[in-house]
Subunit: 161 residues, 2 copies
Amino acid sequence: MTGARRDGDDPRLEAILTALCADGGRATVQRRIVVSALLAGPRHVTAEELAATVQARHPDIATSTIYRTLEALDRQGVVQHAHLGHGPAVYHLNDTDHLHLVCESCGHVIEVPGSAYEAFARLLAEDYGFRVAPHHFAVQGRCGACAAEPGLPQRGGAVGA
Amino acid sequence: MTGARRDGDDPRLEAILTALCADGGRATVQRRIVVSALLAGPRHVTAEELAATVQARHPDIATSTIYRTLEALDRQGVVQHAHLGHGPAVYHLNDTDHLHLVCESCGHVIEVPGSAYEAFARLLAEDYGFRVAPHHFAVQGRCGACAAEPGLPQRGGAVGA
DNA sequence: TGGCCAACTGCGAGCTGCATGCGTTAGCGT
DNA sequence: ACGCTAACGCATGCAGCTCGCAGTTGGCCA
């Protein structure tokens, strides 16, 4: 897997480290490792998953360092985190404008391009003066597969349709 | 103010207790007190706030009872809970179809009628087969007052895209 | 090239928010 | 009134972070 690759392969790594340094921050070896794992891993990871990935090869990196690095990355706008339902927060790179559809039933996360909610965001801005923050915009519901199952019925004032 | 009122004032109380009993549940004095506090209190409360309200007058009611009562109410569809951002979950009566706009800056929660996102929900259903669950539908962003402040700028894509 | 200083790290304790097991209490149908 | 059992109170436990502290280290400036 990534074992044979050097960390410096991904050009995004240097860009991110530069962004971290831009505000008086420092590019430490630990941060380099954490960011590399973030770039190499799946699209959405929890802090715990990232910690497990990092610590598998670098057991000397503390979990709190992972959290603090993610916090720093979040502050710089490099990554975003969202609280999808009940579990821990998930982090992902802030490279595309999209929102998350989270299936309550199977936990699957569908990414939807930002254009999908453009009209909705505009409506909220015009009628309520509310500016939607796309990061953090997680919509709960049921994906197509789970909605088809006869499991649990839809509750509450289901949105027309 | 509520001190002089009897708990039985609100007709909704009996309806909710009946709903609780409908499924083999029981209408205990504790549940009566918890539901009364829920009806008398503000629109959105955390479990902790509700526990504080209840225990102010009934210190012998355990916190776990509050949680279990809220869970039972949630199961019956009487209340809904949503995770608005980082804090604890908030509970509210399931009486109107609405979604929550949560201001990241000041924490204010704006309620928006369900009709506002009907078109958006339909789009998600048609294009992605995703059925939005209105409860849990919390949109993060900045309210009009906070958006006007020169605080933090809106962030966008940062990584090399 | 060396020194300085603050940012950062690791460790670990602690905190919040909630879940759960257990023995006891008390609704509620009969 | 009786008995079944849901619900209660208490205590404890767990996940997911957060924070304080002492030691380390990166990056800047002379």
